[in-house]
């Protein structure tokens, strides 16, 4: 589809929307989407969680993203039409970018999103429109593709240098070995910042490379950037639970955590010593953690967040003892660029304008320099990446609190190829979407599985152990205190059904675990379980992508009758669930 057709379809969508009564929707003329009127003195651009997607992709937003406790019904825990109700005036392409609604059809019409050469064109335009600007990257940039794994993240460092990223922080960046992380950070031409990564006491004793021996910081905790004469402090907040959610063995000398008190002291110091015009926390906490942090820490003007992959179209203002902190989240996979324009008064920020721009690859010509770089990166691996493994007759995706269709394929592959009764697959939030009938290439499979600890396992697990795993992961997702959440989705299951009550407490959320024949899973009985991505010690089985690739090569065509998504208890009426394929009780 060319750009003219695309615009034509946008106009038709507008007519359909108007006829159906959504008169607030308006058509977007070519160029208008990305031509922003001038505002303020300093422009901050923010991308996050691109997960190494160098070329354009499809990415379906979730239809299950439940909020519990005080997050019930609050953004980002509103899906589909429930989000539209809360954010009036969305254009049709916003609706496509921010929701799962009619995803396959809309994706055919609007085309792919993101891609670094298209991002580059957009970012150059947004930077060219103003005298000066800053480009921030919230992390999860060096992981998520075959080429990122094979180059140990260096392809992405190169791409980010070309893109002109000024400041970044991280999470999956730390799933390479410590020395590799430091090498990549040194190759990165911007500033890699993190106030909450320090050397462990043992490592301090041994002596390891670090930014500051006095404070123990591995990376600079913040950086001051002058943007059009204004001093902007950018403090880094890396993912606080990296050594818990990901293998500690890669970065044994580093300790993380939210470190609220350290952050408050740092903000006070930065405000006192550096006299900044604005203070921004570049965060990989996840939206819910950022919202809580904003209510407890004073002196931050903005928290620009990522991790939970929430495409949040309107910023959330949070009151705290010192004033107001504005919290944003910019989605994932290169699908969005967020634009924060700042106006300044006598004492700091006096006004702002925030826009979350969807990156439609069809509307943005590829930057030839970046595209040539990407082609060079891919070339040595092209024959592996382009292998067509099979095709599915339904949309394949992962994102959502419970099993997505692609997870079902992975779980089936694990049980069948490894001869297990039950399979477990992690609830990562990355992984792109494959349209019905589109070939499932090795590249798309690697989007779902590529990481530095892909080894599979098969072992006997007691019913009690299975239940403990399910409960622990559910608590990491649904604990009502965001500081106890880790920001992933629920573990995916194959060969087992269960009931989940997100609003219950730890140990009481998971009930009625059954095998496909209806037999209850017994605490004392053992089951043969297959899985991958073990965080503790390294597993010994083949890499998960090889297992799933074999399964797809065997099958050629994939047809999913149903997906093993749990019965959900107590979530009827929760705006965080819609069009649920399972049972709501």
């Amino acid at each position: 589809m060319d750009r003219r057709e695309f615009i034509g379809i946008l106009a038709k969508t507008w007519i359909a929307a108007t006829v159906s009564g959504c008169t607030t929707l308006r058509p977007v003329r070519e160029g208008e989407l990305y031509n922003l009127s001038p505002f303020g003195q300093s422009r901050i651009l923010h991308i996050t969680d691109t997960h190494a997607q160098l070329n354009p992709v499809y990415f379906r937003e979730p239809n299950v993203n439940l909020g519990v406790g005080s997050a019930f019904g609050q953004i980002p825990h509103r899906v589909g039409k429930n989000l539209l109700d809360a954010v009036p005036g969305m254009t049709p392409q916003d609706v496509h970018a921010l929701t799962y609604l009619d995803f396959s059809e809309a994706a055919e019409r609007y085309g792919r999103v993101g891609g670094f050469s298209h991002l580059s064109t957009l970012i150059q335009q947004l930077r060219g429109d103003v005298p000066d600007s800053l480009l921030l990257d919230g992390g999860d940039t060096w992981q998520g593709s075959g080429t990122a794994l094979w180059t140990r993240g260096q392809d992405m460092v190169g791409a980010c240098n070309l893109l002109g990223v000024d400041v970044m922080t991280g999470h999956w960046e730390f799933t390479y070995e410590e020395a590799e992380v430091l090498k990549n950070a040194a190759m990165f031409k911007g500033d890699f910042v993190a106030q909450n990564i320090k050397a462990t006491d043992d490592a301090l004793f041994e002596g390891i490379p670090m930014f500051n021996e006095d404070s123990g910081h591995i990376f600079p905790p913040y950086v001051i950037k002058v943007v059009n004469g204004r001093r902007i402090a950018v403090i880094g907040q890396a993912f606080p639970y990296t050594p818990i959610a990901n293998p500690q063995r890669f970065i044994p000398n580093w300790t993380f955590g939210i470190q609220e008190e350290d952050l408050q002291q740092l903000i006070n110091k930065v405000r006192g010593v550096e006299r900044p015009d604005a203070v921004i926390l570049l965060s990989h906490n996840g939206m819910d953690v950022d919202l809580k942090l904003a209510s407890r820490v004073q002196g931050l003007d903005f928290i620009m967040g990522g991790h939970t992959h929430d495409g949040v179209p309107i910023p959330v203002s949070v009151k705290n003892a010192g004033g107001v902190t504005v919290v944003t989240n910019a989605g994932s996979n290169g699908k969005f660029v967020s634009v924060l324009d700042l106006a300044f008064g006598q004492s700091g920020v006096s006004g702002y304008r925030y826009q979350l721009l969807p990156v439609f690859s069809n509307l943005l010509p590829a930057d030839p320099v970046m595209q040539s770089y990407i082609n060079d990166v891919r070339a040595p691996y092209a024959s592996i990446l382009d292998e067509e493994l099979g095709v599915a007759d339904t949309l394949l995706f992962r994102r959502g609190n419970f099993n997505g269709t692609f997870d079902q394929v992975i779980c089936s592959a694990l049980t069948e190829q490894l001869d297990a009764e039950i399979s477990l697959s992690p609830g990562f939030r990355w992984g792109t979407s494959v349209l019905p009938g589109e070939p499932i290439t090795m590249e798309r499979l690697l989007d779902q599985t590529c990481m530095t600890y892909p080894e599979t396992y098969v072992r006997d697990m007691s019913g009690a152990e299975l239940k403990m795993i399910m409960e622990s992961v559910a608590d990491n997702l649904f604990n009502i205190d965001p500081y106890y959440q880790q920001g992933g989705d629920m573990v995916r299951t194959g060969g087992m059904s269960y009931t989940c009550e997100p609003g219950a407490t730890m140990g009481k959320r998971i009930t009625d675990m059954r095998l496909p024949n209806g037999e209850l899973i017994m605490d004392t009985k053992n089951y043969k379980v297959a899985g991958w991505a073990t965080v503790g010690s390294q597993s010994t089985g083949p890499a998960v992508w090889d297992v799933v690739a074999d399964h797809l090569r065997d099958r050629k065509t994939i047809h999913l009758d149903k997906i093993d998504t749990p019965r959900l208890k107590g979530v009827k009426g929760n705006p965080g669930v819609a069009d649920y394929p399972g049972e709501l009780i």
């Binding site: 006491d201 021996e213 500690q248 955590g257 996840g286 939030r429 073990t534």
Partner: protein, 154 residues
């Protein structure tokens, strides 16, 4: 001419120094032998009865209890306790869900700074409470610490 400022010891030097102090300070633990019953107790109520008798226990915001919300490694969870409460004569750290809830007791002299740091072992998620003993009252503050399986980070 440049004047070199007097440098604070770096965190690294401080930790290295600390290790040698710890090696020399094994002796005071003998003094705690009288708390044996409290350390051996398996019930929270027994620990409190042994340590505090009938003294009233009240919540205090003058105690700083620094411990991770989620432990990176349950086998070595860093915990720091400090307080500005006048007349503090002991600091006790209690982990409710541990088989023996009393993890540590520190006796303070009139010359001690009420500021301690250590590592504790936690088998599972638990409330962790720091108690400050004064001659007339016990002050406390608590934090929940989660010990969880990992995985599934976004």
């Amino acid at each position: 001419m440049q004047i070199q400022a007097i440098r604070q010891p770096s965190r690294r030097r401080f930790i290295q120094g600390l290790m040698s102090i710890i090696a020399l300070s094994a002796l005071p633990f003998q003094l705690l032998a009288r708390s044996t019953k409290a350390f051996q107790a398996t019930k929270l109520e027994t620990v409190k009865a042994e340590l505090f008798g009938d003294l009233p226990i009240v919540d205090s915001s003058d105690i700083s209890l620094d411990i991770p919300d989620i432990a990176e490694n349950g086998a070595v969870v860093p915990v720091s306790v400090s307080t500005t409460i006048e007349g503090a004569e002991a600091i006790h750290v209690v982990i409710e869900q541990n088989p023996n809830p009393l993890s540590a007791s520190f006796k303070l002299t009139e010359f001690s700074v009420a500021d301690i740091s250590m590592r504790v072992k936690m088998g599972k998620s638990s409330m962790v409470t720091a108690y400050i003993k004064t001659p007339t009252t016990i002050y406390k503050t608590s934090r929940e610490v989660k010990v969880t399986i990992g995985g599934c980070g976004g």
